[in-house]
Amino acid sequence: MRITRLRAVSGALALALGAVGLAGCGGAKDAKSGAAGKLVYWSMWTEGEGQQKAIKAALDSFSAETGIQVDAQWVGREVGKQVIPRLTAGNPPDLVDGGTDLLTSYGSANLQNLTDVYKSEIPGENITVGDSLIKPMLKEVSGTDGPRLAPYSLVGSSVWYNQKVTPELSLHPPKTWAEFIKALDKLKAAGRTPVALDGDIADYDAYWVLWALMRTGGPGTIANAAKDPSGQGFETPAWKRGTEAIQQLIKGGYFPPGFNGTKFPTQQSAWADQTSKTDLILMGSWLPTEATTSLTSQHKDVRKLIEFRSFPFPAISDQDKGTGVVDAGPIGFAVPQKALHKEAADKFIAYFLAKKQLSRIATVAKSMPARTDVTPPPDLAGYAKEFANATAFFGTNDGLYNTMPKWVTDVWQPAVVAFFEGKTDAAGFRADLAKRTADYHKNN
């Protein structure tokens, strides 16, 4: 009798496990057999973020107007780790979003060519999706055979200051490197350590080198040198002028003491609440949001304490090839090649890029909208001006973030950190990069 009961229990257990397995299979099958009027969106934003609120509002009105049922999952920045297995399995969501890194992390072959979406008209406006974007943006998102990303926002970097602390910078923003150093010297003479920098983040150190080289040589200056297996690409005039300018900055004593021994966001927060004697910070367009959140959490009156302003990175010399280039990384939608409801996804992209919807990126998310004819948040007015007048864009670490990530991690970042620690001068920095790059190419 006891044995019979045991057998019954084990049988029930086996059935239960089988049922669980079948339920799992059933879920996958349901996803595949969904109705045509459906849109499955897996987002890089999490519930409560400004961008999530902006997109959610658009999804709700889109669903109400078209009758398309929307299934949105607010996954967050790690969404790729969930999308990639679904791409492999062949049942991805219909709509995803992210930066240009999607092209490498998801593989451009796994994403739909959006040429037709770019040609489609934005509802209620007499222009196409493609026409709504400025030319450098189109160039940034277009591969050899067409765009894979439809940008709705962007991030980039600029030189920030607090109008309430250094109002003179808005009257006379330094336009050349000489003027910039002169302004720093003046602040230093007044007892300031004018440049805030969280030196533990290698990419924040690297912003300075990146910008200097983008000015002297234009987009591709770092990428071309990194791709040269001989390691000799670091000795061009653009590299020499750019790195020597940064050497002047490092050796000038403009950073606060211990800037490379603190942990982010110590220096940024100290710049924002003025507990350090810093005035300028080269940082991304997310700075106003990030600093405001930090100050608000400390119950500080943000508007009384800070007025965000920015100016373009100054020209290094009159031989610059990168005048007017802007750091702008698009964030946009992509449609997986094997998505079941591509039409609904395409339709939503055009819908969201309408001024009415996109303006929420500025008003709710306080971020830069991808269209220059949508009013940006007031804190980003300076950056928006740079963006609208851009001659070309460059991406994070000159695009190498996506194409040569191991070089960035193992060659670029350690060399830049050593340079900013003052262990080497500009020539030594270039020699270090040359050696490490040659070694990198021998092994990769």
Binding site: I201, F264, D410, N443
Partner: protein, 318 residues
């Protein structure tokens, strides 16, 4: 020869037992597979197969996202050994294993022996165990704050008039030394707990006899404590090796703040993380990352077997 001759006859009764036996035994036999199968399926499906797949991936070039896998043989292993970052991570891991191992065990024995003689020993032991209960990430981040330029360590040094000894402890030059010290600090409590329980079981008269024979504390440790806790020491040595090779969260919490830890501070697990899906930017080099992971597993196996053999002794009963 006699065994071979005997085997057919020997099998017969066993066969009879299988088909016969008491009803309870027969019943137990029938429920054996239904009970073991789900666990076996889960184990094979979620552990053995992925582990073997990881070995396969170490022989291919693959970004892990439906891209075709290209067989490269031992190419990833060759790349790995030529990779300066991996060599540094490997050296760092071995350094943690040995230096922190010596530190942790020396501190654990010393503290356990002292606690044995204190009335407040159990309370202090529990307090020392607390770091082990906390999230390694949280402990790492907390230590990072203590080690900042104006943190507690430098402030204390300045107060003590040793301002010149204050350093930027979190810069690449110092960070690995801090990791070594912090690892010893963070791990000792756990091993004190284990050691103290073993030392506490040693009858007091062994120590009394040792004292009567003129043995000092060190000789009593060598001739009483160590031999009578040897079993536990060999087990904890294995536990230490496994945790030292797999150390990750603690180091990441101490060093990382969203950026990549500098090469000077990377361990093998961190290097695997950066090579595959972690870090900024993620490298998605699944083949190279899997080769590193395979080396980690082999290294663990070799060391565990070696230590078990080296530390094998006749068990002492008391």
């Amino acid at each position: 020869m006699s065994r071979v001759m005997a085997s057919p006859a020997g099998l017969a009764p066993r066969a009879r037992v299988r088909s016969g036996g008491s009803p309870a035994e027969q019943g137990r036999r029938k429920i054996y597979w239904p009970f073991i199968t789900p666990a076996l399926l889960f184990y094979v499906g979620f552990f053995v197969v992925p582990a073997l797949y990881g070995v396969w991936v170490s022989f291919v070039k693959w970004r892990g996202m439906g891209d075709p896998q290209v067989f490269v043989g031992f190419g990833n292993y060759r790349r790995m050994w030529r990779d300066e970052s991996f060599r540094m991570a490997f050296t760092n891991t071995i350094t943690i294993l040995i230096v922190c191992g010596v530190g942790v065990f020396a501190c654990s024995f010393l503290i356990s022996s002292i606690l044995r003689e204190l009335k407040l020993g159990p309370v202090l032991r529990t307090i020392m165990f607390v770091p082990h209960l906390l999230s390694p990430i949280a402990v790492g981040i907390g230590l990072g704050l203590l080690l900042s330029p104006d943190g507690l360590l430098n402030a204390t040094l300045r107060l003590a008039g040793l301002g010149s000894a204050a350093q930027l402890w979190l810069t690449p030059d110092w960070i690995f030394k801090m990791i070594l010290i912090a690892t010893i600090w963070g791990s000792t409590g756990y091993y004190v707990m284990l050691m103290a329980s073993a030392i506490g079981r040693i009858p007091g008269y062994y120590y009394e006899q040792a004292a009567l024979d003129g043995a000092g504390r060190f000789r009593a440790f060598l001739h009483v404590t160590l031999p009578l806790t040897w079993d536990l020491v060999s087990v904890t040595a294995v536990l230490w090796m496994i945790s030292a090779i797999r150390i990750f969260e603690f180091v990441y919490g101490l060093v990382g703040t969203g950026a990549n830890p500098p090469p000077q501070a990377r361990t093998m697990t961190i290097e695997v993380f950066l090579t595959t899906t972690g870090g900024a930017p993620a490298q998605y080099d699944m083949g190279l990352g899997s080769a590193m992971a395979v080396v980690m597993v082999l290294m663990t196996l070799v060391l565990v077997v070696a230590v078990r053999r080296f530390m094998r002794r006749e068990a002492l009963e008391f």
